[in-house]
């Protein structure tokens, strides 16, 4: 039985064309792009081409606005720390409370360092309140950093509108677009977004390569200082093979953008409808009318996510869970808690994230496999009886201590 991979928001498989493009850069074209000789200049030309391919996918005005980094996390950190260092008279960061840990953990550290961080709250569908956002924009704010799309629910944020509002107040705007790039159209030159982070392994390029888009004219302070690579904005020898791979992946993403929003979306919808129609007491989380075409995050009430994943894994299906027990933290997903998802459901969320490699037959099999797994775990749960969920679970199951 062929395994089914539905965890593409965690990472994607490399496209074979990406791997093929990369291979000569380990063997034949191994030069250092900074070197003046032919070995180096050959690689330098390849990096330039990749920069153009990435520029095209992002709709950036200049290819010099593309800075290669090692990953999305590095891009995020560079963006926020640069904005704070470049504007020492401003000490405030605005973000949301559903960001990726790459942003939230950095912000916690910044708070300890004396900076002020405002985290916008979300409603039960994971949407922010634009009026609350507007009320926070002032001349103490160094940067706004809001993800383009949420990694757990796929909910898309109105970053273009938010960037306009920030720009009108002279505030820099960064977006962690790691989940959005390659899945939905992006045209940066027609926005007021100053910085954007992307990560190669989320769009069928290898791990270990990321990009920070930096609008020309923005004040900038590098995170890594040393050599003159990336015009002095990110020191360190370029990861040339991965950069070439990322360039090809971006070109492929443009070609497949329509497929993402038709075929992949149709499969996602089929999966979701198939599960919701067969399983009671489960629901999709986030803003289902405005989300990434490949993502659905379903909360299965009264059971815990890790158990679901283990049983799915046994039948060759890979998903992921916001359950605490899978993450090593002890609390359920901060995104579910921020949306006010009740505990009876927050512990049992499973994210299915598709890609263009998934097939109709795979989705049919997932629809067949999940319902008995949910039933099996509910049979073990003290919150579930033969007749369905116990009434008032917390009172019915009254622990001696809680």
């Amino acid at each position: 039985m062929e395994p089914i991979y539905l965890d593409n928001n965690a990472t994607t498989r490399c496209d074979p064309a990406v791997v093929e493009a990369m291979l000569p850069f380990f063997t034949e074209h191994f030069g250092n792009a900074s070197s003046i000789h032919a070995f180096g200049s050959e690689v330098g030309k390849a990096l330039k081409k990749a920069r153009g391919q990435i520029q095209a996918l992002l709709g950036a005005e200049h290819d010099s606005e593309i800075i290669f980094t090692s990953c999305g996390t590095e891009s995020d950190s560079t963006a926020i720390l640069s904005a704070l260092k470049a504007q020492p008279d401003r000490n405030t960061v605005i973000t949301t409370n559903v960001e990726h840990p790459a942003i939230l953990t950095l912000c916690e550290w910044l708070e300890k360092e004396g900076y002020i961080v405002h985290k916008l709250k979300v409603d039960k569908k994971g949407r922010i309140d634009i009026d609350e956002y507007k009320s926070l924009l002032n001349d103490r704010v160094a940067i706004v950093s809001v993800m383009w799309a949420n990694n757990e629910t796929g909910t898309i944020f109105p970053v273009e509108e938010m960037a306009e509002l920030a720009s009108a107040k002279g505030i820099m705007f960064h977006t962690d677009a790691v989940q959005a790039v390659g899945k939905i159209p992006i045209d940066l030159k027609n926005t007021r977004i100053d910085m954007l982070s992307l990560s190669g392994h989320k769009l069928h390029a290898p791990k270990g390569i990321g990009v920070l888009y930096l609008r020309r004219g923005c004040r900038f302070r590098p995170l890594l200082r040393g050599g003159h690579q990336e015009r002095g904005r990110r020191a360190g020898t370029e990861n040339s093979a991965s950069i070439v791979g990322l360039g090809v992946a971006c070109e492929l993403a443009m070609q497949h953008m329509e497929e993402e929003n038709t075929t992949v979306k149709r499969l996602r919808d089929k999966l979701e409808k198939g599960l919701l129609s067969q399983i009671t007491h489960c629901f999709p989380t986030g803003d289902v009318s405005n989300r990434l075409p490949n993502t659905c995050n379903i909360a299965f009430e009264y059971i815990e996510g890790e158990g679901i994943l283990m049983l799915l894994n046994k039948v060759g299906i890979a998903g992921s869970s916001g359950s605490a027990c899978t993450s090593g933290s002890l609390e359920p997903s901060h995104v579910m808690r921020a949306m006010g998802i009740p505990y009876t459901a927050a512990h049992g969320t499973i994210r299915f994230s598709l890609s263009r490699y998934n097939t109709e037959a795979e989705i049919d099999r997932v629809i067949a496999e999940v319902p008995p797994i949910v039933a099996q775990l509910r049979k073990l749960s003290p919150y579930w009886s033969d007749k369905g969920p116990v009434a008032n679970p917390e009172a019915a199951f009254a622990p001696t201590y809680a």
Partner: protein
């Protein structure tokens, strides 16, 4: 995914004794939906012999919570209640060929459920023990008595270990100090009178903040600014550039970049580096700007 032993996986995939036990005469409920782990242990005890004739469980939780519950029921069937009370969480973990350290709290939940079920059978108020202790971890509702019991029973030494075994401290971390106090108390008892016990290995609270730096007079501030500039000048001069102080206006320090530094592609990086040094030396946020940015009337 965690690296579970084959036995954990086997008990998760094929749990023994799951589901309600109609003839139960001792029931122990522990955990809560908030914490993400909840266990109902049901015992059928022979009143004549006090032997556990049957044991069933219902568990809301992860793979190791279900496996620990299944193992517990297998361990205690056939035991007298007094024998069952001797079963420790480590016995449960050992039965499963071990649990990941982060999952030891699942075995502790099993032990707690067993104590609760036996107390329930005997008509005792098992919860009294816990109510005596102050609530330490508000995120997971864990009190001092439970932490102390688990620290003693499992010979724990660090806050991290306490979190692995009880979940306490795994949320907001505000209770780490309280956990450290309990650890220190138990470790002192272990060491015995007159002996010095080692401090807890894991510092729970961040270092005390440094006192605010003394405010510098303008003369002192300029002297320090010059100090920083002097320290970077040799480096710039090596590249045929230079820097000089132009003016200081509040938190803005204006400098003349000279020679190769003037108009250099790396100008922003140079200024950023100087600014970082300035901030570190002066102990306040300042901005280093090229003299071309000085206000016209200055």
């Amino acid at each position: 995914m965690w690296e579970y032993s084959d036995k954990v996986r086997e008990h998760f995939f094929n749990p023994r004794n799951s589901g309600p036990l109609e003839e139960a005469n001792g029931i122990g409920d522990v955990g809560s939906i908030q914490c993400g782990d909840a266990l109902r242990l049901m015992l059928k005890v022979d009143p004549e012999t006090e032997i556990i004739q049957d044991a069933h469980f219902q568990t809301f939780g992860c793979g190791s919570a279900i496996a620990s519950s299944s193992a517990l029921t297998e361990i205690i069937k056939g035991m007298t209640l007094d024998q069952a009370l001797e079963v420790s969480n480590q016995n449960i973990a050992d039965y499963l060929d071990g649990l990941p350290p982060e999952k030891m709290h699942c075995s502790v939940m099993g032990r707690e459920a067993l104590q609760a079920a036996i107390a329930n059978y005997r008509g005792e108020e098992w919860s009294d023990d816990h109510e005596e202790g102050a609530l330490i971890c508000k995120c997971f509702a864990i009190d001092a008595v439970m932490i102390e019991d688990v620290v003693k029973a499992n010979n724990l030494n660090t806050v991290e270990e306490v979190t692995f075994y009880t979940k306490a401290g795994g949320g907001c971390a505000a209770c780490h100090e309280g956990i450290e106090e309990i650890l220190a108390k138990v470790m002192a008892e272990r060491a015995g009178p007159g002996e010095v016990s080692p401090p807890p290995a894991c510092p729970a609270t961040p270092e005390a903040p440094k006192p605010p730096a003394k405010k510098l007079s303008i003369v002192e501030k300029i002297a320090k600014i010059q100090e920083v500039l002097e320290s970077v000048r040799p480096m710039l001069q090596r590249d045929h550039g230079d820097v000089e102080l132009a003016d200081v206006q509040g938190k803005k320090i204006y400098v003349h970049l000279k020679g190769a530094c003037s108009g250099c592609m790396m100008e922003a990086a140079t200024l950023g580096g100087i600014q970082q040094k300035m901030i570190e030396t002066l102990g306040e946020l300042v901005q280093v700007l090229p003299s071309s940015h000085m206000p016209v009337d200055a």
